[in-house]
Symmetry: D2
Subunit: 406 residues, 4 copies
């Protein structure tokens, strides 16, 4: 363990990662660089500076990555209508590659030979951090304290703090929650506590970002989202940057009880786990993106996107953002978004985001063809006969040879 | 046109198909057999008998197919968590293969050499009817009046009725609607009228099966659905047949404003069309089936199902139920459902169906492994290091050779 | 039929398309523009000029498209290791989009409102020509004489020639063959004649581009192919343009009895057909491209390419080159080829092309890791335990709950 | 290490696994049960008995599994036309699940709590053995000596033999080969030695199962393979059991220089490796199975099989035979084989297996439709117009709105 000289730690400023600072210094006898990012988790990041300094850290990185996070990670992911296992909008997964990238960039800047993080050995996040790190700096040393140390209970952690004079008021409100939580601009997640019983309903006071549908306004809210090439660029006609869009949609969605999710999911490490998520803005974005695509995207491109999406979601969930396969899938997805522009109108009401209208200068909806009224010859119904006949030909030949399909 | 002797017509008893009876008799100088089925469309089918008799039909088939419809078509489809283009639950599509099958069986029983239907030449239903018919009886003659005749306006149809003494009180309430509608136990659909403008919001009084979320009760309703091998067998502990389950869920969902959908979809014949759908029970079933699978289904089987689902949805949407590829996909899907048993608890409230609990004797959720607490050695966190290292190996080698992933 | 003013015809100079020139002039009373392209079919194209002139054609296009054909169509297709139905290298399919594009461009240049071709109504080529034409010029009129006229036998065609003074010496050597043939730089195909019995072996004298394996040299020929970004740029170190590469490989392959294929394939129009193909150069290219990728391409990108390939092949076979889905797939494929560079060594011998060596500056083969000898710690075998343990976890949990996998 | 009481070892009788017997006895102080199977590797298995006895083993299992191997593993795999990475016929991969299953069954019979094998920590085989073992007996202990001990060179192994009086004449001819080899009825593989340089051509005297194409007979051999439901049941009309078929085809193929392969492949553990393979019978079987399917299998089922195949190959290559996803894929594949019956005629000549004819009572090839001659109305060419028109509709609409496809 003597060969690590300097390690960059993903540092939240909370109790656990503060203990890690000390533990790294002691165990590896190395210098620790802390990296704290604002990715929209809703807590101040600046206080992490004083805490790190108090722990003897000399190189302290504190950064606001919200714009980059939404622009370069969240937005590209939503172009694919990405959902993991039919339900999960990948709120935690999508933040990890950015953290991994910055950890490595800071390691390169500071001459560090290792990175470290506070994720446990049971979860997906360790995988996402480390795959990213290895992909970007193959020789990096990764230190995952939770897989190494024996501080595997709250009592032992506290005892360690006592021994090492780590102020326990570090312990934030968040840490007193019975749940393990993670938040960024896309979502907040809850695991553990009573959620470990998949039959138990989450308690109302667990949820932090949204009111309950019952407590939401009795009148619906209508919004209009403007898309350009697959990305939202304005809300109700007001131009916004990507992270401003997501912040605004989070407020709108949260106020209307939208985006709560309670699922059992399959982790990459092989176990099932139960999690609750609030993704107010993301829930609206998924609906809206499908709607603008429904009007502007070619059928076969749309279907191919749907077939590729589960793969793409799995790639991100499993932590392979920085991989050739993600690049390849992204190229396919992005190649379809040139005309995905227009406006989607959505009704928000007590837990539901419902599309009620969509329009686009790039619309492929051709009213003159689709109409139930007289179409003045735009579509020749007789063509359908040949279309059906030839599509049926293989089935007819098979049936003629005695094959049974029922 | 002289070579058709007897034709079996999918007869609703409404104005259009009554005109078709007469038109077939005149145009093809052939005998017409009518087939009217109750598949849960919510209208009496027995009155079709007198109407058919009045039109001179001698062989009249009127059947209650609700149980068969849900058991053999809707249920198998929901095992796959089937959605077309991310939104549509295939309510119309899934009813067509059953109609096609009965048309052909009746043709075989009555010695008919042709079948006929009232679907237009612009839609998907003609394809679904005819592909099914050809697959089951390759030599059958198909007559699609809407592709042949020139009665392409309401006025011409009315004039035809006058000329041929077809009582215009045939014209039901449904026909006076500005919308083209179709209904069965799974859903009711609306097309045409103001919906031909994709920006226009559907009027509240269009919807027939559900109250608006705003008008739904202010208190949530909780229900428990019991699954056996992928299918719902009981609601709140009360055993029911498949069609009874769907009827009950339609009522529960409809009363809580659940299952409304407003989309632009891509038809198989090549155009986009806008449709509104109410699928109250199906919307609940989809959520619940995913939830019971989340607890009982293996991860890789679940992911493979997700990758196959868009294909399976397309096969059904396009009308290939009676095909080798549907059989093949169904075999794969059904091979995964043996252990998909247990209970799902759902909250219904003002437009949303939310899963709040799930339990199963077949659960693969292992609390002793998943726990955030001490797991007494059930899972060795150190295994994660090797797991990550080998999964990263190809990325590290590539990065070591200078490949860039960002 | 009176509304066509000018039609661009894909004109081979042979009997059939000469009849079409006359038939178009007569039937549509329109001007005919002929377009004859050298795409490597091995026949002179210049003679088509005099023939067209003799038929009264004023606008005559004769072009050498060999370079464009291989560079922009064949090469991109081979980047995907494309094979249709496990065997067919798509030699005919890949030439059609280029012809379609030029037909439309010439229509635009000459002010023509229609295009025409000599493909039959039973085959794939009509679909490929027409889908391309419609995709590039949606309002174009397409005239497919074989679907319209009644000259459906050799006798009637000859009688038509007599009546219209079309010189029957037009009838080339090719036309006297009992087979329907098509050729371009990628392949030559044979259909019809005794091949209509799938049990009958093709006669040796049918094959035109290759010697039989039995007649090939008794000594193997070794060649080295140099790849840059997925494309062959040199043979045995000699730089060549794409079409020169293919010409050279055709000679090398043909001389060694390589590239004969005898299959039954599924046409897009719904029937099975039997075809024989000679693709000497393409057969070598497929082998070689896989080999250079095996050394330089990431595993997951390679596997994703393999999963997408059948779709891509189908898109091309069915005639959707000019489509959003082909564009999308091509973007994914091309995104993987940046490092597919190096040299492949191949042994050609009596019908077989065998890869015997491959090397690359971009190689991801890491001998220090892969070696069976001592690897000096490059790979820690203990990592495998954790890798296997976590990959097995879901299976162990399932087995622990009593699930049977055998 | 004290907790293992009895371990079942996959024992070849060779030097390495003999050392493992002794090492297990010493290191774990446990009883060793040996299991030696004849899966067609071409070496006597009975001699393993005396060797095991000499090492003090009391429970010795020696079994002929050839029939089971081909019938239950090789044949099902070939129904899918399985190839890994476009080239590899999975000869090693497919034998592992059977060995894993027998190891576990013997562990259950003998009351053993562990299994062991002689595969290294760098390869795929450890994964395949262990995933199978865990899937079938989740609590089993797995001992992989090569990942644990320090006998990582030939010298150390020899020294160990000396110390423990293990007769070094154990060292068979095979062991003196410069290559690491593995054989069973489906193939023999070679790795290591000069093959670790991917540019180096394999030496002629490496190959053991086939003559070189140059040394093969100057006259072709024709054979006829009879299929029933996707499996070969007779050669040249003579009924045979599955393993007899494969043995016979290995001889026929080997004598004609067929089935040599030289590739770089991607291992599941993350590295590329170079391997040479001889798969004479399998190479013929793949060609033949595709040929019989080409005549008897529906197009869409065939295409779906092609899309699923790479996944299925990966599942087997990676060691997940005993998994829900393999079961699911097998169900899909097997659901297509009911009519895959008939006869395929193949020409074997100097390295090539070429299909020259195929026939079947279940043929879907309809000569009356496919013919270039007059088809007497079996196919209406005019149907093609509507077919093309509607397939082109989405492309025309898009082009009409100004979308560019080129």
């Amino acid at each position: 363990m003597s060969d690590v000289k300097k390690v960059v730690l993903a540092y939240s400023g909370g109790l656990d990662t503060s203990v890690i600072v000390k533990w790294l210094q002691e165990t590896y006898n190395c210098e620790v660089v802390t990296f704290t990012a604002d990715i929209g988790q809703g807590e101040e990041v600046e206080p992490a500076r004083a805490k790190a300094q108090a722990l003897g850290v000399k190189e302290i990185y504190i950064e606001d990555l919200r714009e980059e996070f939404v622009r370069d990670y969240v937005y590209p992911m939503f172009r694919a209508n990405t959902i993991y296992e039919g339900e999960y909008l990948l709120g935690t997964s999508i933040a990890r590659p950015l953290i991994a990238k910055r950890l490595i960039e800071i390691a390169n800047e500071t001459g560090a030979d290792a990175i470290s993080h506070g994720a446990t050995g049971k979860g997906n996040d360790q995988v996402r951090f480390e795959l990213g790190a290895y992909a970007l700096k193959p020789g990096v040393k990764v230190i995952a304290p939770w897989r190494e140390w024996d501080l595997n209970s709250r009592e032992k952690l506290m005892a360690y703090c006592d021994e090492h004079s780590i102020p326990v008021d570090f312990s934030s409100k968040k840490k007193k929650s019975p749940y393990s939580m993670d938040a960024n601009l896309l979502h907040i997640s809850y695991e553990g506590g009573i959620l470990e019983d998949p039959w138990a309903e989450a308690e109302e006071d667990m949820w932090r970002w949204s009111v309950s549908p019952e407590a939401a306004p009795d009148q619906p809210t209508y919004i209009e989202l403007t898309y350009e090439k697959g990305d939202i660029v304005a809300i109700d006609g007001q131009a916004m940057k990507p992270h401003e869009v997501l912040e605004a949609l989070n407020k709108l969605g949260g106020a209307n009880g939208i985006g709560r999710l309670d699922i059992v999911e399959n982790r990459y490490v092989g176990m099932k786990s139960r999690g609750c998520y609030e993704t107010p803005g993301g829930t609206i974005m998924l609906k809206a993106h499908r709607a603008i695509e429904s009007l502007t995207l070619d059928r076969e491109a749309a279907h191919l996107k749907d077939e590729l999406m589960p793969k793409y979601a799995k790639v991100i969930y499993n932590g392979y953002w920085w991989s050739p396969e993600r690049k390849m899938l992204q190229a396919a997805i992005d190649a379809t978004q040139d005309n995905v522009s227009g406006v989607v109108r959505i009704k928000l009401y007590k837990g539901s985001a419902t599309v009620v209208g969509r329009q686009s200068a790039e619309s492929l909806f051709d009213e003159s063809i689709a109409t139930f009224e007289d179409d003045a010859g735009a579509y020749d119904q007789k063509d359908a006969e040949g279309f059906i006949k030839l599509n049926a030909l293989r089935l007819r030949i098979a049936a003629g040879k005695g094959r049974k399909q029922d």
